[in-house]
């Protein structure tokens, strides 16, 4: 058995960008490889040029600067889970990272790879969306700074152009916010999400002063659910409020995704998922 492909391992970012520029659409990026290897096994990507970016030091950035978290696209989920900084400033993203694949996969799979693969069920994406994450795309010709939502063009289709490399993300710090990530799947480990939900909320005596909710797997690409956020903003939510918020979430999901075979189940499941995820915010005994 032979694999008709060519392997390149540029030593730094500048060389990687030059190579991507020269290869154009023939280049296939190898970061963690956990999705790519499965596709190659299926016979895809024959004749392509594999560009191994897994060792580029520039893609391992992790810092807090001026209230923003800068996160290298090449960080593995194990590296994300091990970061005290991210536990404080990106709680929903860290919870999502803990539920991705298995330990063997988290040890090599990268945040950037999870995003650019553009799977509707990518676990890390809702966690990025609730922090208004922006993606920094570098190419030989320059740099683009775009909201992550704009990269998600469609299922398995990203808006990243040939010659561009997603090098890092910039996130608004969620320091002091309550965060959660919940997913529904057929088993608890190594599971593809059937629905997932990331929530960030700031709550005080006046109720929720900031609330951000993103849904994964329910729509062609993960997305923020602004209608649900508006419904909950300013409320000190009761359980009844959460069920109503879940109803808003489900109806928006159906509006975006249309009626599908799974809709009967997913409508109720989305509602339940929101209630389950946000229940810790309901004050008991009031």
């Amino acid at each position: 058995m032979r694999w008709a492909a060519t392997y390149h391992r540029p030593s730094d970012l500048t060389r990687a960008l030059e190579l991507l520029d020269a290869l154009g659409g023939q280049a296939l990026l190898l970061a963690g490889g956990t999705d790519l290897m499965v596709e190659m096994r299926e016979g895809k990507h024959g004749g392509s040029h594999l560009v191994d970016i897994s060792r580029l030091p520039e893609l391992k950035l992790l810092e807090l600067k001026d209230g923003e978290i800068h996160l290298g696209a090449g960080l593995t989920f194990t590296e994300i889970l091990g970061s005290e900084l991210l536990r404080l400033h990106a709680p929903a993203l860290v919870q999502a990272a803990s539920q991705i694949g298995s330990l063997q996969i988290r040890n090599v799979a990268t945040l950037g790879g999870n995003v650019v693969h553009c799977s509707p069920c990518a676990d890390s994406v809702p966690g990025l969306l609730v922090q208004d994450a922006r993606a920094i795309l570098q190419s030989r010709g320059g740099t683009r700074d775009v909201p992550v939502q704009e990269i998600l063009v469609g299922p398995y289709k990203s808006g990243i152009q040939p010659g561009e490399l997603l090098t890092r993300f910039s996130l608004r710090s969620a320091s002091g916010m309550w965060g959660a990530f919940h997913k529904l799947a057929r088993r608890s480990a190594l599971a593809i999400a059937r629905l997932s939900l990331a929530v960030l909320a700031r709550h005080g005596d006046e109720g929720l002063s900031d609330v951000r909710i993103a849904l994964g797997s329910g729509t062609p690409v993960p997305r923020r659910m602004v209608e649900v956020e508006e419904f909950l903003l300013g409320k000190a939510p009761t359980e009844e409020d959460l069920w109503e918020a879940g109803r808003v979430l489900a109806s928006k999901m159906v509006e975006v995704a249309g009626m599908r075979a799974s809709t009967v189940y997913k409508e109720r499941a989305a509602q339940g998922l929101l209630v389950q995820a946000m229940m810790p915010l309901v004050r008991h005994g009031n």
Binding site: Y7, H8, L19, G33, M37, D52, Q104
Partner: protein, 171 residues
């Protein structure tokens, strides 16, 4: 560091050098070839198994630079400069590794297909966390499927090995 194929264009096999079970290995691999294929078909190390081939079963687990990875999902070319441990490297001249002994004593093996992967996941766990809780063991082994044992004996074996390693190191 080896820098194969800086320029676009056709390239032949890729030279790689790495340490495998303590020995320096230098050979040529194909682009896209998996670590698992290299180990089994080129190097004759049949311990790591191909169960699913898509990263779900963990039967191909090996330890690379101290962490457990799926051999089926990593490219052989990526091993360049790395330290690789497979189940064949667990045994020492004085005998089986305490994990292997504990698996035998606790009947953590039935058909044995998943065992090399289980051992390597457990090895990586104990190297990082010598005294794990049961929950931590479960989490570390969640990527390793076993259709025979029901897992209970495996968990007991890992706990026993941790105790044995602790007593040997005098802690």
């Amino acid at each position: 560091m080896n820098m194969h194929c800086q320029e676009p264009g056709p390239c032949g096999p890729i030279p790689v050098r790495f340490r495998l079970n303590g020995r320096e290995v230098s050979l040529q691999v194909d682009a896209g070839q998996s670590v698992l294929h290299l180990l089994r078909e080129k190097l004759g190390l049949k311990g790591a198994k191909e169960g699913c081939g898509i990263g779900e079963c963990g039967a191909c687990t090996v330890v690379v630079d101290g962490v457990a990875v799926n051999g089926c999902l990593m490219m052989a070319a990526q091993l360049d400069g790395r330290e690789v441990l497979t189940v064949e490297g667990l045994e020492s001249p004085v005998g089986l590794h305490p994990l292997q002994e504990a698996f035998l004593e606790h009947h953590a093996v039935q058909c044995g297909f998943c065992t090399p992967g289980m051992l390597m996941s457990a090895y990586a766990l104990l190297a990082r966390n010598p005294q794990p809780t049961r929950d931590q063991i479960v989490e570390a082994l969640a990527g390793n499927l076993c259709r025979c044992t029901g897992y209970e004996q495996v968990l007991k074996a890992v706990e026993a090995a941790a105790r044995r390693l602790a007593s040997r190191s005098g802690t």
